[in-house]
């Protein structure tokens, strides 16, 4: 059985002109990256715009890509830089959308009513808790929980040291836990 090519191998192949390699790479990371962007900007239109920008930068840099770090680390580093540019252009963090909680409540849950309420309530509380986090903590916790990146990787993406990442994660996880247990 042939081993699945790694993300780095697929990216190098695309740099040589292998378009199917990019398609496989895209399918692996489209969901996590989009969710990451969405959780940061909390608005679909902006998330799609930033999401497309990030992948366009990946395409442009294909010829000079070097697997000095994991591909996911490199991808989310590009996403982090794009978000930084976005926040700088915005000059302030936008308030959470008014209907965010309502949209979370309207989501259909295929589970039983009891579980549906519990699960729904969990998600709603977590989403509210995430939106209340500072940008740096939310970014770190999303990279950690959804992408399962290490502290070193998160530090490379966000441009801070491991201890700073560790501190941010500790505060963020504590707040999320408090929200869920409330």
């Amino acid at each position: 059985m042939q081993a699945e090519p790694t993300d780095e191998e697929l990216m190098l192949a695309y740099g040589s002109g292998d378009v199917p390699a990019f398609e496989r790479l895209y399918s692996r990371h489209r969901g996590p990256l989009f969710r990451f962007m969405l959780h940061q900007v909390r608005e679909h239109g902006t998330a799609e715009e930033l999401f497309q920008d990030v992948w366009q930068r990946v395409i442009t840099a294909r010829a000079r890509y070097q697997p000095e770090a994991r591909f996911s680390t490199w991808l989310f580093q590009i996403a982090h830089n794009r978000l930084t540019d976005h926040w700088r252009a915005q000059k302030h963090r936008p308030p959470p959308p008014i209907d965010a909680v309502e949209r979370a409540e309207r989501e259909a849950d295929p589970q039983t009513p009891e579980r549906q309420l519990s699960a729904f309530e969990e998600r709603r509380r977590l989403q509210v808790a995430l939106e209340e986090l500072p940008v740096e903590q939310r970014e770190a916790v999303m990279l950690r929980l959804e992408q399962e990146l290490s502290l070193e990787q998160i530090g490379q993406i966000t441009g801070v040291g491991r201890e700073t990442v560790k501190s941010r994660l500790r505060y963020a996880l504590d707040k999320l836990r408090q929200r869920l247990d409330a």
């Binding site: 695309y14 969710r35 799609e48 497309q52 442009t60 994991r70 969990e122 977590l126 989403q127 869920l180």
Partner: protein, 296 residues
């Protein structure tokens, strides 16, 4: 391909529970239209890289471009050096022109004559002599002997032949000895005798012309007369007492004046004739024109 990267840190229990909830949050995937746009952009970029025209910007193309530019700059530099390193023809041509220009200061030296001295100091001092008019000078014949438009001295108008003058004069004799033996026997040291001999020789030369050559104004007439003078001059050169012909016209003229002043009129006249033969473009100074007259 083995991963050289540090291993990922697994989530602890608390993180795994929260991760489960985070991944269940709504709005997880991008829309299909967005996927299509991104994949199309990736394909187009790869296709553009495969086109031949886009490759020259690569390292090989850049090297070729740099090499071509360097070769062009080198060729321009070499051509520039060759253009300005070679001696200019105008510079070489200006040297004789400059030398000739110095001669205009001396009115006796017409501009443009071919035997210009290299040193202007060798020219005679400016004197009120009649300078020739180059513009009015007739074109030089094949013989290269041009004659000044000055009026023909009287003796050359005389078409009489001196029976004492015959062809085949001894070129080794002096003026007197260049004449026929009969003339040579009658050679006298008196100035009058010398004048007669010179006139006779000159008259013979004039008489050989098909047309009336009462004026010493044609190159053809001057040539035989000059030839007679050459005979005399040759004889003078052979004579130990006769001076050699200097290369400088000014010096030559000075020598002729000295001969005249010493009473050696025939020699002076012969020398003057030879001078005129060799320097046809030089005008004869007015003080020496008298040497050409028979009755002086």
């Amino acid at each position: 391909m083995s991963t050289p990267f540090p291993p990922t840190e697994a989530l602890d229990e608390r993180e795994r529970e929260l991760a489960r909830i985070v991944r269940a949050l709504p709005g997880g995937d991008p829309p299909l239209a967005l996927d299509a746009r991104i994949l199309k952009s990736a394909a187009n970029a790869a296709a553009a890289s495969r086109r031949p025209g886009a490759r020259w910007l690569g390292s090989a193309g850049a090297l070729w471009g740099i090499g071509g530019a360097a070769a062009a700059v080198l060729a321009l530099g070499v051509g520039w050096q060759m253009k300005y390193a070679a001696p200019r023809p105008s510079q070489m041509e200006s040297a004789p022109a400059a030398a000739m220009a110095d001669q205009t200061e001396d009115s006796s030296v017409p501009v443009g004559f071919s035997d210009a001295p290299t040193k202007p100091t060798e020219l005679a001092a400016p004197s009120p002599r009649v300078a020739t008019a180059p513009s009015r000078r007739p074109p030089a014949p094949t013989g290269g002997v041009a004659v000044a438009p000055a009026p023909l001295p009287q003796p050359f108008a005389d078409g009489r032949l001196d029976e004492r003058v015959t062809a085949g004069a001894d070129a080794n004799d002096s003026v007197g000895s260049a004449a026929p033996p009969a003339v040579a026997q009658r050679r006298e040291s008196s100035p009058a005798a010398q004048r007669r001999q010179a006139n006779t020789i000159a008259a013979k030369a004039v008489a050989s012309e098909p047309e009336a050559q009462g004026r010493y104004a044609t190159a053809a007439a001057a040539a035989p007369a000059a030839q007679a003078g050459v005979d005399i001059a040759a004889g003078m050169a052979a004579d130990a007492s006769s001076p050699s012909f200097p290369n400088s016209p000014a010096t030559w003229l000075t020598q002729i004046r000295r001969l005249r002043d010493e009473g050696r009129t025939l020699e002076a006249r012969a020398s003057l004739l030879e001078f005129h033969r060799r320097h046809p473009h030089n005008s004869i100074p007015s003080d020496l024109v008298a040497l050409l007259r028979a009755n002086e």
